[in-house]
Symmetry: C2
Subunit: 226 residues, 2 copies
């Protein structure tokens, strides 16, 4: 026989109380299922079986909520790479970790470029900075290299996340890119855009992203030598 002490109304209320953590978790689920456009206060309220207003008791704005959800995704990535010993391997691991996280959570890609001082971006800066320092950089060179790598990672993944990656159907993707290249023929007397577009059809985004990281690391290595 179960006694209900002081909570007679339990049946009509949710079992567990609302909390910032539960709200962020629900937001993450909605974002993963439907992208940035799917996250609304109303949808969040439905998903948590509560009113719209209740959410504002635990979170100050939708923006802060997306920042928190983004940081939760990035946190897992940075936590997974600190163990490695070789700084260059660690930096490649960090970059690819972010790439893969954005592949799994595309909304994170555009979100990271929206607000440069959000928690997740600070976290990325911190991780990059530590590995570059382990590589022997310090002072201004470290600051320059860190900002360059962060800029590249955030920019490249944003491009990738918002791109036609989602067009899994090869035929649709091909047609889409062909029509784009067509539209740009006029401004493309030497065919450079056309070539880039045709390359888009076949290339491996992840490999190209890694090539960019390596280009950067080669730059760091040869600048440090001066």
């Amino acid at each position: 026989m179960v006694t209900m002490s002081s909570q007679e109304t339990r049946r009509t209320r949710r079992v567990d109380a609302l909390s910032r953590d539960r709200i962020v978790a629900a937001a993450l689920e909605i974002l993963d299922a439907g992208g940035a456009g799917a996250l609304t206060v109303r949808e969040l309220g439905n998903s948590l079986s509560t009113g719209r207003g209740a959410i504002y008791h635990h979170v100050s704005s939708m923006e802060e909520l997306v920042d928190a959800a983004t940081d939760r995704v990035i946190e897992r990535v940075t936590a997974g790479v600190t163990a490695d010993d070789d700084p260059e391997v660690a930096l490649r691991g960090l970059a690819l970790g972010i790439f893969d996280a954005i592949d799994a959570h595309p909304w994170v890609g555009t979100q990271l470029s929206r607000q440069p001082l959000q928690p997740a971006v600070f976290r990325i800066w911190g991780s990059i900075g530590r590995h570059l320092r382990a590589l022997g950089l310090d002072g201004q060179p470290l600051s320059d290299a860190g900002s360059a790598l962060a800029g590249f990672i955030l920019g490249a993944t944003a491009q990738y996340a918002a791109g036609p990656r989602h067009l899994r159907d090869d035929e649709a993707r091909r047609e889409y890119l062909d029509s784009l290249a067509e539209a740009w023929m006029d401004h493309d007397s030497d065919g450079i855009v056309r070539e880039a577009a045709s390359r888009l059809r076949t290339h491996d985004d992840r490999e190209q992203f890694l090539a960019g990281v390596n280009l950067f690391l080669t730059g760091v290595r040869n600048t440090a030598r001066d």
Copy 2:
């Protein structure tokens, strides 16, 4: 004596007819004056002395309109650098031209990272590609270098555009960044974020951006040598 031939109602109508060009120009003015948040169909209608619906006769969506306005800004930049002969100088000029354009039109910075296949991004790709080809690159190396440089330029300028640059008041900017660094002390056992934040207070964004471009160019130079 002026004759009005067939236009008796002229006085009550706008002097010049609505057109896509005039709408894009009005959008540019609103974006420059108030940022991305200020551009709404209603505001555009007011500014052009017309109803909301009339705009949709010349433009298919607000998104397309912002794409067009962004391309108008970027077009001026790419048109200004093609004359140069040294490809590395031209690439630095292109990068700094985009940086300065975003300094003057901050809304462009975040807009460029939102949609990777918009006209302005294609234009930037094309310009980068041409200069890299002039540098002697071709095929996959050209594609990799172009995507890396484009990623860096778009990412770094987006970070910069959305950053605390607008806090012209040095004191406010300093306080803001100090409080941010404070908030991140916990996750910053080795002080790397704190150092980065303190550097943010004093550094020259443009110079740091240029350092990033040079890092990539050094990488390209030393990769090509292999």
